[in-house]
Symmetry: C2
């Protein structure tokens, strides 16, 4: 009775449905019946387009990796200053989480990390790449004199990512009890104060004061 669609289209629909289900019921509530219902098809039809649930999770991992990593990489390749790039990545990341609450749940889900070695390794690689991208930007900011000279790029990148991650999880846990945008804005503002190169006191350093105007 229902119209038929190409497998490529169905695969995309299934992955999207799965991400939505995770946003609503968590990875624990990600059942074949739930995915099928959300995607508007029967349970059995899922298996026409994916070998099994594991394959859906792998496809979801690729999809998320492309979204998060891809966006960050393209911003990092731009030609603004390092701090502006970091801000853009931060904003983009939190906006993506706000639009897809399933994203952080998937990234740190046990079902994935303990249930599928290959997928766990792939996600770990993606996260390492993300940290690497952030580290590179921070190192560039230090070299350019925008950021404090004595900070460690990698550890600072982890602090930034941890801030995002903890906030995403708290938001997820409390079912959106606070305003994610406002909270992340406060966090970013404070973080920038911590890492930005301190302006020397004005009356002691006339020459630098000229630059900053």
């Amino acid at each position: 009775m229902p119209p038929k669609k190409n497998t490529h289209i169905r695969q995309e629909e299934i992955v999207q449905a799965a991400l939505q289900v995770i946003g609503d019921k968590g990875v624990h509530g990600l059942t074949i019946t739930e995915i099928a219902g959300r995607a508007g098809m029967s349970d059995a039809n899922i298996y026409r387009h994916f070998k099994g649930k594991q394959e859906i999770l792998e496809a979801l991992g690729e999809f998320i990796g492309e979204r998060v990593m891809g966006k960050a990489a393209s911003i990092a390749a731009g030609k603004e200053c390092a701090l502006a790039k970091l801000a853009a990545i931060f904003r983009g990341h939190t906006a993506l989480i706000a639009a897809n609450p399933g994203l952080p749940r998937f990234m740190f889900s046990e079902e994935i990390h303990l249930g599928n070695r290959e997928l766990a390794a792939a996600m770990a690689t993606r996260m390492a790449g993300y940290i690497e991208t952030l580290s590179g930007l921070i190192a560039a900011g230090v070299s350019a004199g925008e950021l404090q000279p004595d900070l460690s790029p990698r550890e600072t990148a982890i602090a930034l990512l941890g801030m995002i991650q903890l906030t995403a999880l708290r938001w997820s846990i409390t079912q959106g009890a606070f305003n994610l945008e406002a909270e992340t804005a406060r966090l970013w503002e404070n973080f920038v104060r911590l890492i930005r190169r301190q302006q020397p006191v004005a009356h002691l350093t006339e020459t630098l004061a000229m630059d900053s105007v």
Copy 2:
């Protein structure tokens, strides 16, 4: 055949066994059979001491809350300087995680946050209290002139906790692929550099230089 024990003792044994199971197999692998096996009793006997699995999770939440929060609160009540207290809490927290890998898994598990509203609320309250304790210490450090004057206590506390949390999850995910102590030591060292009040350049501020010696 086996000797009988008081319900209080059994409850403690069951909670301990559950925490160990989570460390090995995650919250997803926390089954009644697994707990019973680890605690050396039959599945049915679990129900003599707990009404059901949910009640075990609630007891585990209380146990963990006491450990983490209790330790932090007692350190915060001490009489060292704020930075020393923060360092002690940081070390204590990471040491506790190293000894009980199930701890961060439980704290951020979906099964808990989506499966039991009351428990989720209780854990959220505990986490808020923890952030509050850290914020208070940071604010005290700012007042005492140990930390940078322009940092927001709450947001800085979240950055610190996020750093711990992300590292714990990465460690958990990679099955202990890196040295947790060494990694957290690097992170703390960098974090201290970020938040500690910058020493003014010596030859410009003789009076302050006297204090710092």
